[in-house]
Symmetry: D4
Subunit: 255 residues, 8 copies
Amino acid sequence: MEEAEIARLLNEVKKGEMSIDDAIIRLKEAPYEDMGFAKLDTHRGLRQGVAEVVYGQGKTKDQILRIAKKLLETGQKTVLITRMSKEAAEFFEENKGDIESFTYDEISRIGIAGIQPDAENGVGRIVVATGGTSDMPVAEEAAKTAEVLGNKVVRLYDVGVAGIHRLLDKKSLDEIMRANVIVAIAGMEGALASVIGGLADCPVIAVPTSVGYGASFNGLAALLSMLNSCASGVSVVNIDNGFGAGYLASMINKK
Amino acid sequence: MEEAEIARLLNEVKKGEMSIDDAIIRLKEAPYEDMGFAKLDTHRGLRQGVAEVVYGQGKTKDQILRIAKKLLETGQKTVLITRMSKEAAEFFEENKGDIESFTYDEISRIGIAGIQPDAENGVGRIVVATGGTSDMPVAEEAAKTAEVLGNKVVRLYDVGVAGIHRLLDKKSLDEIMRANVIVAIAGMEGALASVIGGLADCPVIAVPTSVGYGASFNGLAALLSMLNSCASGVSVVNIDNGFGAGYLASMINKK
Amino acid sequence: MEEAEIARLLNEVKKGEMSIDDAIIRLKEAPYEDMGFAKLDTHRGLRQGVAEVVYGQGKTKDQILRIAKKLLETGQKTVLITRMSKEAAEFFEENKGDIESFTYDEISRIGIAGIQPDAENGVGRIVVATGGTSDMPVAEEAAKTAEVLGNKVVRLYDVGVAGIHRLLDKKSLDEIMRANVIVAIAGMEGALASVIGGLADCPVIAVPTSVGYGASFNGLAALLSMLNSCASGVSVVNIDNGFGAGYLASMINKK
Amino acid sequence: MEEAEIARLLNEVKKGEMSIDDAIIRLKEAPYEDMGFAKLDTHRGLRQGVAEVVYGQGKTKDQILRIAKKLLETGQKTVLITRMSKEAAEFFEENKGDIESFTYDEISRIGIAGIQPDAENGVGRIVVATGGTSDMPVAEEAAKTAEVLGNKVVRLYDVGVAGIHRLLDKKSLDEIMRANVIVAIAGMEGALASVIGGLADCPVIAVPTSVGYGASFNGLAALLSMLNSCASGVSVVNIDNGFGAGYLASMINKK
Amino acid sequence: MEEAEIARLLNEVKKGEMSIDDAIIRLKEAPYEDMGFAKLDTHRGLRQGVAEVVYGQGKTKDQILRIAKKLLETGQKTVLITRMSKEAAEFFEENKGDIESFTYDEISRIGIAGIQPDAENGVGRIVVATGGTSDMPVAEEAAKTAEVLGNKVVRLYDVGVAGIHRLLDKKSLDEIMRANVIVAIAGMEGALASVIGGLADCPVIAVPTSVGYGASFNGLAALLSMLNSCASGVSVVNIDNGFGAGYLASMINKK
Amino acid sequence: MEEAEIARLLNEVKKGEMSIDDAIIRLKEAPYEDMGFAKLDTHRGLRQGVAEVVYGQGKTKDQILRIAKKLLETGQKTVLITRMSKEAAEFFEENKGDIESFTYDEISRIGIAGIQPDAENGVGRIVVATGGTSDMPVAEEAAKTAEVLGNKVVRLYDVGVAGIHRLLDKKSLDEIMRANVIVAIAGMEGALASVIGGLADCPVIAVPTSVGYGASFNGLAALLSMLNSCASGVSVVNIDNGFGAGYLASMINKK
Amino acid sequence: MEEAEIARLLNEVKKGEMSIDDAIIRLKEAPYEDMGFAKLDTHRGLRQGVAEVVYGQGKTKDQILRIAKKLLETGQKTVLITRMSKEAAEFFEENKGDIESFTYDEISRIGIAGIQPDAENGVGRIVVATGGTSDMPVAEEAAKTAEVLGNKVVRLYDVGVAGIHRLLDKKSLDEIMRANVIVAIAGMEGALASVIGGLADCPVIAVPTSVGYGASFNGLAALLSMLNSCASGVSVVNIDNGFGAGYLASMINKK
Amino acid sequence: MEEAEIARLLNEVKKGEMSIDDAIIRLKEAPYEDMGFAKLDTHRGLRQGVAEVVYGQGKTKDQILRIAKKLLETGQKTVLITRMSKEAAEFFEENKGDIESFTYDEISRIGIAGIQPDAENGVGRIVVATGGTSDMPVAEEAAKTAEVLGNKVVRLYDVGVAGIHRLLDKKSLDEIMRANVIVAIAGMEGALASVIGGLADCPVIAVPTSVGYGASFNGLAALLSMLNSCASGVSVVNIDNGFGAGYLASMINKK
């Protein structure tokens, strides 16, 4: 029930055009969301006007295109499409019509339609660090998500603990010390999150990846390792969930 | 190597009392931390003066007492002792000597020595919510940790999803909407984190608990459930890790 | 041993044409089912005349066709084929001969041969609810199964807990309140079953799906979550077992 | 917001004592449950007047007593206490004051306060079957729960599949055929649920128990077995969850 | 229905004292086991007169005594009680009344009431081999079970693969070569079953034990190892199931 | 060292052509297998002349052909090839040269080269039973293996416990009662092994299959179920290990 | 900071061209690795000049080629490429330019560029043993890695415990006794490591392989088995990690 | 068969006192170990005279005492008793008779009887490092085992990765660089092994411990983490297996 509707109803009550009993009934029947529990929508509302996300996996290329178009038409400035196949991206490009701009990144499988993020001028500082180069698809999903949401992202790739000096050189260490929030991404033994958690004094979001083989059990080893991190300030998201980490990092960074 | 030492060494080089080669060797051998990588210590440094944590599990009552005393003597204002047995607390009380104050909470098994937290005047707003009353020990560990670290904590206990109206009444909803960060604690199926994650627009730290039986597998069910949360902004810490959640919540709240 | 046979045997004993010892031996050897334990067959008997189910997976398209034809010839009015490939469906369509009607639904991979269900005039009210759109194949398997068995089915799709207002709007809530039985289908964290279980006062059949990635472990997370549901009245079937849920829902609805 | 309150508000609007804008604000702020979403409470309401359940585990004997007293004072006729220790039961007995009646069953650890169930005159027919005698505590939890809720319960204990003739003798078979719903309880390999599911033509609620050793992994083997039941009409609840099965059985039986 | 009863019934039919219709009804109603499906009972029948087994775990000392007495009174010569506590054994000894003989073995926790097995004169040759001395309780359960059932048992203890020469010395090898069936019992890595399976040309029953720590996961490691044995002729029973192995070995040995 | 060689050596010692010291050295150096530890080879020796097995998986079609040819040339009468691809079988047929006969069964993926088994005249009685028709590939692997090894095999397919009457009809029951050994093959919940184990009085070899989906976890559910069988006389082999079961059944049957 | 730079800085201090304070600051800011913590690089340094390893998995054929070229240009004599696809190898061969030599082994998927290892003249003695022929790809990865690193490697393939005489013949036993370190590679039940560990008196590196099916769970059974080895001196690397075992064996052998 | 016996036999053959056929038979029957496969015993032999190990767990205090006495009487200089309870140690002390010396360490639960290790003068350098102080019991088991076997042991305790500077200070780093072999012991996330593996250029033996809670699953998290270590040169032993690590470290150190 929109505010206008409530107003009209109250008006009718005031004028005596509707009995109080009828009004009570209608108010009680009003669907939950229409009651204007704005708070429920704030969350969404705040995001709107900035960027909306489409989870590409399991959607046809046509569905993705139509959803994105509709979002842009209804005021969304940027639409982020995650887990988008190359085919879907090519189809999008060919049929984008008057969508201002569309970019696609093969590694992270992320498509961005509408106004492109201004990566240079993002706010705050989110560090996205990976243990190895194979963690890059997840890392780029996190980084690009954060950039689309308006954050400044610093990438520290391939700083895994097997060569701890890479992580401890002045440049890397400086970035870690200056970060507002860090996304630590690693497969195999996932030790990166603990080491960074021990160095940093900001929240660390750990993302286990399915990189590895054998007893990595598709990311389970890294997941358990990260959940058991002996460093304070570390929390964990699902295996390979780059988007979730980027989104949460943005939430914390923008506080 | 302290700054003074480096200064003396450079001085000797300047005066010609030490050869350049010898200086190079001594500098290269200087222990890592003495090199003044202050950033490594910042993290610790920043915490000092506020509160230090002692993990009580596996320590004797005597060890706990001595560690706490030493920390308080060296400038720590408050010492938080987690997983402290009742016996250790009684022993502490009896032998606290001139420690200003000591309180112990049986439910959360948390002891606080030194200046007690001023729960009324904490900053920000951390909501600690639980699915059931049996999650309270973990919840209080989180809440008290956050309070000791100077945060304002709001408790929403027993608002589990099996009676969703408890979570959706105006008071609860208001608290959720006004929070800077929420700690969602639940055992069994752990659905609370997802529902709160869907309602709130702030970071949600999910804490699975070992509450439950049978196929809860000591918290595994809740853990997996929370890691798979379809709500954005949710991350997870170890099963029963109330302290970790409270600490991280404080980090985010104080940003 | 048919009743007639027993009668004949007893007759022969009466007439002295068969010794008592011989009769004992023959009676002891009589095959179990022939003893007329009709109850063993009741179960099947009751279903006959309504619909019979063919599990398509692992059967050749030719086998499926022949089984269905035989069932229809022997009095079955409708045959439901689950997990039927598109190829098998096309083959069926081309070779259906004088089978009155055949329909196939690609999403649920369900084929229906013979008299089509009259979805409009089903009895009772089974609500089939899903957490997300990706759960639709399982949901449609459940819904179509229930419809073929003569039930009225209401679909509430994409009402997952991450956007709890979708589930709590008046329309959805009304359907949940009026249901005789609810099938709650969800992947990832599977929290839908608990929330619906807390709202509804009818039996809820929870179906975990393999939708998700990483720590969903192909539906294990949702399965454990649902088994630990803190709401009363919830029980669980196998991962992705839409047919089983639809069948059981029909059993309960028709009581 | 109670109906009376809404009425008063509308009255004030009608009289011009409250502006429409203020009324809108107050209505929007009204706490969810006060809006009279009676349906949310129906569920609970319907149960009230019959019996309320207290989960005894993790509650002190004093807490249990006080909760039960309050429930009985506020109109509850019977209170069922599950997982109640012997100590709590003795304490209850000694301090029950003017509670009319209290009984306690050591095997199922169930206490019943207030009006005792009239097991003889329950409605319908719920069969509770177990594989072995060690499954009895879970079975009695289910049976007593169902009896308290007003159902007629038939016990078929120790009819496990290793001696299939016990299940197939005429008496057992008759009970299975005449049941409205069956609770099949078994540990170890949990095959009972499948066999009963194959015989019966009513819903079967399978309860895996933690009875067994070695590769039973505390009920996991039985749980997986039951989830994979090849018989239609079988669904599963948590390991050792006798109460849940009894409650659900009652729901189905009373339909 | 006993044979005598069937005979009487047929007799009555013959004499015309009972109508054929009534006879049919009575025969159909006769409980399954009474129908004389001797085959169902053969199994049991064959065992009777030799030995009957009582699973002691979870039974009170009084229950065990009463069951054993009843079995002996009804013609059983020997009763084997497995997983019997020392307390139960002492109680049995004190209250055995006119039971001829009772022995108890603390290691295997096996009690034997009635005629004791004549271990010297058992038939065939069952070899019971263990990897270490800690596997002895399980081994003795197997060995004593086999002896009670009338088999000749040879013990080869502590011949684990870490010291392969112990298994390969002439004496051990001879026993392995001459065995009719071998029970190979081992915890930790459970390799014994494979090695013996490779040497022997008779069936090998592998029993994983819960001996070990850490990654033995209470016998899981040995269990998986034995299931994957690359040697032909090896099958596996449950962890620590010495009785099951001894019983099966007897079955095979006596063929 | 062949017997002939030892004889020659001893001869040389006898004749004084070799010193005793030299003889000692040569004897000690003789490779283990050459020492004629016939017992080690008995096992193999007994199999020779009857049939030898080639595990086809992971071998090229050419390797399989060459191995089989060599075995047949060196006196083997029959060669059984398990897990043989259709391609390998076609290649074999085309290039079999003067191999007397070759047959291939697509379902079990078994090829038999040389003298074909005389299935009609096998000895003893091995019953191979399956829960469903999808278990047939594993069942045929077991059955054909046993037939090649000279056993009489009776097939009882699709007698799963969901329709217990199929297993309990006179014909099936008779076969179970007359068997020397039974191979019980089932996927999903694997209850067949327990039910048959409860009926039969001969050894039952349980084979879990990977048939199923969801919580069957590729055969894990059936495996655990079978390991926990409450029936005596049941042992288990690896998931889908039809060959192993057939081989072991033959060993027991021929005792 | 290179030594030369430190020297220059100290020189400037000495000459008074730089103040001591400035020097302190510059020294403190010097990036970690530039400080010449040679020890950190020793590890790497020692390897350089001998061989460098490129992990081929997940790298494009072009990336592999370019990395290898660069390593060879910068002084590396040999480059070992692990998990290299046949396509990448063919591409490498065609485009190797003036790389002196390139060999590729299809089984182990190892490519070696530059100076080829002189397998004949390696130092020490590393024995690489496998349970079956299917373990060969992992074994060759280990063996070739060790050879490239300059070790003498002895291969003992297909000596699995199911035919223990193969392992115990004089030749095999001799090799085991003379080894400096043994790599024991096995899938399925992984018993080889324990048996070899019991025979040998040198370190044994156990490598579980994913060879097997069913309850081998892709190498988990062998992994657990090896971790529980009752033989002293055995340690374990990841499933299928031939490279890691070969590298570690070289480390130990060359001590 | 001793050499003397073989000589006698050959002598008899030479003299014609024994036929060649008889000699062949006797030689074939000679027990394996008597054939003088000295190498089988070398392993043991080499250890003798240094120290022998008794695994205390599961042995009575009396058994331990008797075994130790016998070993010392038969020439063993030192006996190491692992997992020895305090009770067993007190009993040992009281009853040691003329055993020269006995020491017991409560933390590691290690008892040493006979000549005590000369920890100061051990050879080589084994570094034993732990992540936290709770890992000390395992660490001391490793360290003391290595010392008893004659090695020089350096302890680096509480250098976990959450405070990486503790590991990277000059003193720790120096010890790591100078070690011949390192034992890295850690619970929780077990990242220590990877970080040390990345720093060191000697073999690293990783020991996961059961220290931790929740998702550490009694050491499983650390175990998987260590198996997936991205650092070369790391291998893993069983959870809490301090003895195994110390023994293997000694083997490698003494090469």
